[in-house]
């Protein structure tokens, strides 16, 4: 079925791109659970240096380690967002000024444009579920005992649409569990992922 949504995880040459291996299945489960969007049952891994990147207009990128794109990766990412693709980057560390954060934001500034704060009333937060801003994660709220809460996501916007979305919230840790375990949660903590996908598919 050509209209299926396929969840794609970016593979890049530097860093640990596969640090959240359970996340794709969990998000796919969430999309199928709340929407009638046709979704492929399994995600794909797509190298940023490969032309296959352009088959998946929403791509998720994460890691803990420094991010440095190769020339090919940089060229592809630039063309990807130019053509209307959306790159969602999540810092798996959730810290401030860590190595992933410093290098990834620099790399995006060099490749696309500098990241800026995304207002908390952006349509992303009401694309499906309603949020007052980016939902907090357990890792921010004492999960690591640091009470470090990031109040905004960062983004590169073009003509009013998000091209690159950047999070320090560590959703990669928050959502990295087997979907069967959602039943143990009083509130599904992956609901924001629905907003992400719906926004990417409609905005």
């Amino acid at each position: 079925m050509s209209a299926e949504f396929v969840f794609a995880t970016a593979q890049y040459e530097s860093g640990d791109w596969d640090s959240a291996p359970l996340l794709p299945a969990n998000i796919i489960d969430t999309i199928a659970r709340y929407t009638e969007i046709p979704v492929a049952p399994t995600g794909v891994i797509v190298p940023l240096s490969d032309a296959r990147l352009f088959r998946y207009p929403l791509v998720y990128l994460t890691g803990h380690l420094p991010v440095r794109f190769s020339d090919t990766e940089r060229r592809n990412v630039r063309a990807f967002v130019d053509r209307g693709g959306m790159l969602f980057i999540d810092d798996h560390n959730h810290d401030i000024d860590g190595t992933f954060h410093k290098t990834a934001t620099e790399e995006i500034a060099r490749t696309v444009a500098p990241l800026t704060e995304l207002p908390n009333d952006h349509p992303l937060y009401s694309a499906f579920f309603r949020f007052d801003g980016p939902p907090t994660t357990s890792h921010e709220l004492n999960g690591w005992g640091d009470n470090l809460v990031h109040k905004h996501l960062l983004a590169v916007q073009r003509r009013g649409r998000i091209s690159v979305l950047y999070s320090n919230k560590d959703y990669s840790s928050e959502w990295n569990y087997h979907p069967d375990n959602k039943r143990f949660l009083s509130v599904d903590n992956t609901r924001f992922a629905v907003n992400l996908v719906v926004y990417a598919l409609t905005a």
């Binding site: 209209a3 009638e36 063309a79 209307g84 693709g85 003509r159 409609t202």
Partner: protein, 424 residues
């Protein structure tokens, strides 16, 4: 015995009456005494007042390398109706010009020119040069933004002129369907080309993401509706009336499977056709497959065939005052994303043209057609080109005024001679 002087007077009188009688006889013969006046095209306008004051015994012949203005042709036609013989010769290039405002953003004007095969036609408006086109067999077309004042086409000395059409206010385009890449990138492409877009994408039962107010869908605010799939939502009931009143409808991909659109579609679709993709293929429109039109509805015409079996990928029809185009492609977004550096722009332009081809555009106010096809007008008013009428040199040599002067002089001489002799 008459004196010599008396005989001279009789001779003068006889000659005078002879001349008058000859003139009277000539006036009863058709074309007798007609002379031909030839002028070149550039001098015609200056001669028209002179010809108008002349009697109808002058044949007027113009030699043209370009058709004159319509007012000159009208004047010549009036002279012809008043009894003059009016002819023309030459072979001015027969060019014709038409212009329509393109329904959509950008104030574009679609210009169609006809002319001799391989002729180069230059287009300009009051602000300066616009473009030049080479005629190929049937003519040539060009779309140009922002025509100012009159639109003028020239080929050699020939010139055709038309008033630029009123631009059409860009109404919104509705894109409707389920959330997916096809709908998203169609809306994006249209917005990037300047169309105001109203989008409504279904996400879950009873939940849709909207951009702009969907209803009411009528021609006062919506130029066209693009249906991406079978999810028509609240639009289903009003779509038929909208199209029949002049609205445009684009039925894309699996939307033609919708029973709601069965009476509007250009034809019933068959199973999705997927061409064999080779490893090195660059993704283009239709490379990943489409829903071919299996049987065309009455009045529908195929616009594009594709594949080894010539399946109809695009077809169109008119319904009432509206236009419908059915596109088999359901993942044109891949053309944009994976079609190489030019794919994005090609996708954008293609979708904008598809929508413009069906978009509602109120008819322009009637305009004078002066100068749009000058040679055709010339032939219609004065007949085809032909040689100047052949008139005998003798009859051309004698002017009626001279004859009348001679007759008067003869009579005056006869009268003066008799008075000098004391006779009355």
């Amino acid at each position: 015995m008459r004196s010599p002087r008396s005989r001279l007077e009789i001779a003068l009188r006889i000659c005078a009456f002879g001349v008058i009688g000859w003139m009277f006889g000539q006036s009863l013969r058709p074309n007798a005494g007609v002379r031909v006046e030839r002028v070149r095209g550039a001098d015609v306008s200056a001669r028209l007042p002179v010809w108008t004051r002349q009697s109808a015994n002058v044949a007027l012949h113009t030699e043209l390398d370009a058709a004159p203005n319509d007012w000159i042709v009208d004047w010549l036609a009036a002279l012809r109706h008043s009894g003059h013989v009016v002819t023309w010769s030459g072979s001015p290039p027969a060019i014709a010009l038409a212009a329509d405002a393109v329904a959509g953003p950008g104030d574009n004007v679609h210009v169609a020119v006809a002319g001799p095969d391989r002729a180069v036609i230059h287009l300009r408006d009051d602000a300066g040069a616009l473009d030049s086109v080479r005629v190929s067999t049937m003519g040539a077309t060009v779309t140009t933004p922002g025509v100012s004042g009159d639109l003028i086409a020239t080929s050699g000395a020939q010139r055709a002129t038309i008033q630029s059409p009123d631009t059409v206010r860009a109404r919104a385009v509705v894109v409707i369907g389920n959330a997916g890449w096809e709908g998203k990138f169609i809306a994006l492409a249209l917005e990037e080309r300047g169309w105001p877009v109203i989008a409504r994408f279904g996400v879950a039962p009873g939940v849709a993401v909207s951009q702009g107010a969907l209803l009411p869908v009528d021609t006062s605010r919506v130029a066209a509706v693009v249906v991406v799939d079978t999810a028509l939502q609240s639009l289903a009931s009003s779509l038929d009336a909208y199209v029949r009143s002049g609205g445009g409808l684009v039925i894309a991909g699996p939307a033609s499977l919708s029973p709601v659109l069965a009476t509007l579609r250009a034809g019933a679709p068959s199973a999705r056709f997927t061409p064999t993709a080779l490893p090195g293929d660059t993704i283009g429109l239709g490379a990943t497959g489409f829903y071919p039109v299996a049987s065309l509805a009455p009045g529908s015409i195929p616009l594009e065939r594709r594949g080894p079996n010539g399946g109809i990928a695009v077809a169109a029809r008119r319904i009432g005052a509206g236009r419908v185009i059915q596109i088999g492609y359901d993942d044109s977004w891949r053309w944009r994303m994976t079609g190489g550096p030019s794919g994005e722009a090609a996708h954008r332009v293609w979708w904008s043209r598809v929508v413009a081809s069906v978009a509602y555009a109120p008819g322009p106010a009637p305009r004078a057609s002066e100068g749009t096809a000058p040679v055709a007008n010339l032939v219609a008013r004065l007949g085809p080109a032909r040689p100047a009428p052949s008139i005998s040199l003798a009859s051309q040599a004698v002017d009626q005024k001279i004859l009348m002067t001679i007759a008067l002089l003869l009579l005056l001489g006869e009268w003066a001679s008799r008075r000098l002799r004391g006779l009355r």
